[in-house]
Amino acid sequence: MKARLLAPVAGLLTATMILAGCGAGGDRESDSGGDGGGASDVGVTEDTVTVGGHFPLTGVAAPGYSEIPTGAQAYFDYVNAAGGINGRQIEYIVKDDGYNPTNTSQVTNELVLQDEIFAMVGGLGTPTHSAVVDFLNSEGVPDLFVSSGSLQWGDDVESKPYTFGWQPDYEIEGKIIGQYIAENMPKAKVGLFLQDDDFGEDGEKGVRQYLDKQIVGVERYTSGNTDVGPQVAGLQAKGADLVIAFNTPAYTALTQLTSLALGYKPTWFYSNVGSDPQLVGSLLNRFSEGAVEGDNSSLNGVLTTEYIPGVDATDDPWVQLWQEVWDQEGEGGELTNYRIYGMSQAYAFVQALAAAGEDLTRDGLVEAVESFEDVTGPQLAPFRYSADSHMGISGMRVVELQNGKAEELTPVLVSDIGDAPIEEDSSDQASDAPPEGGIPDGS
């Protein structure tokens, strides 16, 4: 039987070779025509520049986070309506990864290989983005302003030359929180409530630098497991009267409800990620099926941090700009802190585009961001970008929430990873204002 098979099989294989030879030869040539100009100007034409990002638009992480790209889109539309940057309109492609790293990998393939984006802007999430960071760097795609405070985006420039963080990393957030408590509440018995990944780990590392001795208990939760009863009860049993929590907004609502049920009333100090009063309020209402009112006042007395002005700061010139942008270009609905986050990121990207100049290349863009010294922007503290560090915003201030408003408890404090000291910010970025017209120029 084998002998009988051999001849036809050999014939078929030969036919395939010939077929393959024909098909490929033609296609390759037309392919190389597009790439001919060198990899550096993929996604850039005379009058457009195409960028993309991955966000959870559906699924459990979508509430809140799915609003970030709508804010960025609104700001890009605002810039485009004013003629774009260096004559180029910004085209922004958003892909849904449902906060699943396997999907992130697929949609990033689509963005880079099919849509041929010039740069990734604001890709969201630590587990999700870490799935594609190597790919983006090996393809030489600028990977600007990752929407996550993990250290890995900025602390290893050599292995990730194209990736830049944006928000303050969780370690300096932990340090600033730790120092504030050590100085202002030296008697507090501190409990830690941490997400069991980089987020919680980096935060804990920072906190322990300043109040290792005050910590009486540490509890961790796995994202996705919605029962935090054991953890909250554990902190209660240890007698913690102040809980520092590095968690996502859903877990802010869950810990609030659980501690309410247990009659546990510590002072809560949530990291910036988990403290949006609007979103937590609506989640509280939903999780308790209406039993808890869930308006802006539900997080009254909670401590947190902030690094960009939020919707509550209606007097801030940046927030006024965002409101104007949203009224003009937004797709309906309220201006929220998540939309402001997206706009602030988009503003930084537009600054980078403007600084990279007329002859836009990927490496040129990276160089432009690395020399981002003293740029003004909505961020309260300056960026730390340089040729050796791609870490983002350098600091934040501690605030207390009252009826959805953030009341300042400290001036803006800046620091860096490792044992860099915490200092008061001297750049005065917190009181700057956007340029006339709301669009940054090249310098």
Binding site: M1, R4, L5, A7, P8, V9, L12, L13, A15, T16, M17, L19, A20, G21, G23, A24, G25, D27, R28, D31, L57, T58, S66, P69, T70, Q73, V94, D96, Y99, N100, P101, T102, S105, Q106, N109, E110, L113, Q114, T126, P127, S130, A131, V132, D134, F135, D196, D197, D198, T222, S223, G224, E331
Partner: protein
């Protein structure tokens, strides 16, 4: 040509090998024509297809249900990630896939032993527990398995012989995406040939006998437990190979990639294509890979906002599922095959009616007609009875 037809008619192995060669030829042609992104999408279709193929054998031919195949894929994926982590990259990729298959096979054996004692909803429950528990293992051993962020998979360079072969055949360089897609599809073809042969041979007949009637199967001397366990093992091995291809394609093995959703996706692929048909598993995998991005793109082009367009995909996915179940309850392939068999039977009946002299042979024809739709001769993998179960 006559010889080919001869092989097609008389040798099962020959037929499967011929199909494999034709399949390989199609794969080569397609992968040489499409760009990098499509190649990676095809690789994704391949891993869904491999796992769905294994599942369709288990569910369609042996009658066991598994909600835990996504978890079995996780074992394959993590094995691949750990083996490829070795910076020297000395291990050939084919051995990595094989090792991943063996690890999943071992796990599948353990699960299979338990599963063989369970039926219907209890089996579904037990495998569901697997799907829920396995991602937790990666979190528990976070130091070793990377926790929530998982393990990144660094694909070794395309081996020189593959580059040379590609250059010899087409005169072009092989990109990494192409290499990954070739790896996926060659794995798929090998797996499908093995599965098809098993299903058509003695082992497959035993599996079917156990599915159709336990008592008669036992009376015929078939050990129920052994048949069930072997079916689960084969199916788990396929899931392991699929997991390995997934890890290489996605460049990542992370717990959130192997949730219950993946297991249900595999079942969906099997049901869409038709229970018990390998070709159905492939078609189902293709639909699940290409439909969502296609729908999202159409939604975006039609002027929907990004969020609305993204929400369109699950909606259309659900609608397609409902439509298939309403209009083609045996799945796309199953229903087509049944319709074809019915038409053939009708034609035969008509032909028989014309040529036969009345009276003498009628009873015989009646019995033929009843048999024909039930056992489509050329279908090769299962009876229509199985496909509706």
């Amino acid at each position: 040509m006559n010889r080919l037809l001869d092989v097609w008619r008389h040798s099962v192995l020959g037929r499967h090998l011929l199909l494999a060669v034709i399949g390989l030829a199609v794969v080569v042609v397609v992968l040489e024509v499409v760009g990098d992104f499509r190649a990676l999408q095809l690789a994704a279709m391949a891993y869904l297809g491999i796992a769905a193929g294994g599942l369709t054998v288990l569910t369609g031919i042996n009658g066991q249900i598994s909600l835990g195949h996504g978890a079995l894929m996780a074992f394959g994926a993590y094995t691949t990630a750990l083996l490829l982590d070795d910076p020297t990259g000395s291990m050939p990729i084919s051995l990595v896939v094989l090792a991943s298959t063996l690890v999943a096979l071992a796990v599948g054996t353990a699960v299979g032993v338990a599963a063989a004692r369970l039926h219907g909803p209890y089996l579904a429950g037990a495998t569901l527990a697997l799907a829920v528990a396995v991602p937790g293992i990666a979190l528990y051993f976070g130091e070793f398995l990377g926790g929530e962020q998982g393990l990144r998979v660094s694909l070794p360079d395309v081996p020189t012989w593959a580059l040379d072969l590609e250059y010899l055949l087409t005169g072009t360089e092989m990109s990494r995406s192409q290499y990954v897609a070739y790896l996926g599809w060659i794995t798929l073809i090998v797996t499908f040939v093995l599965l098809a042969n098993l299903a058509r041979g003695r082992v497959g007949r035993r599996w079917r006998a156990v599915r159709d009637d336990e008592v008669s199967a036992e009376l015929a001397g078939i050990r129920l437990g052994r048949a069930r366990i072997s079916a689960f093992m084969v199916s788990a091995a396929a899931a392991g190979a699929a997991g390995s291809v997934l890890a290489i394609t996605a460049r990542l093995a992370a717990p959130s990639g192997f949730t219950l959703v993946l297991s249900l996706t595999l079942l969906t692929a099997v049901v869409l294509g038709g229970l018990g048909y390998l070709s159905g598993a492939l078609i189902g995998a293709g639909l699940l890979t290409f439909l969502p991005p296609f729908v999202t793109r159409i939604g975006g082009d039609a002027g929907l906002s990004d969020i609305r367009a993204a929400e369109l995909a699950p909606l259309v996915y659900g609608l397609v599922m409902v439509l298939v179940i309403l209009l083609a309850p045996a799945g796309l392939v199953g229903t087509t095959r049944m319709a074809m068999a019915e038409r053939r039977a009708r034609r035969q009946m008509a032909a028989a009616g014309k040529t036969d002299s009345p009276g003498t042979t009628h009873p015989q024809h009646d019995s033929n007609d009843e048999n024909d739709p039930g056992t489509p001769q050329a279908s090769g993998s299962t009876t229509s009875k199985g496909s509706t179960r």
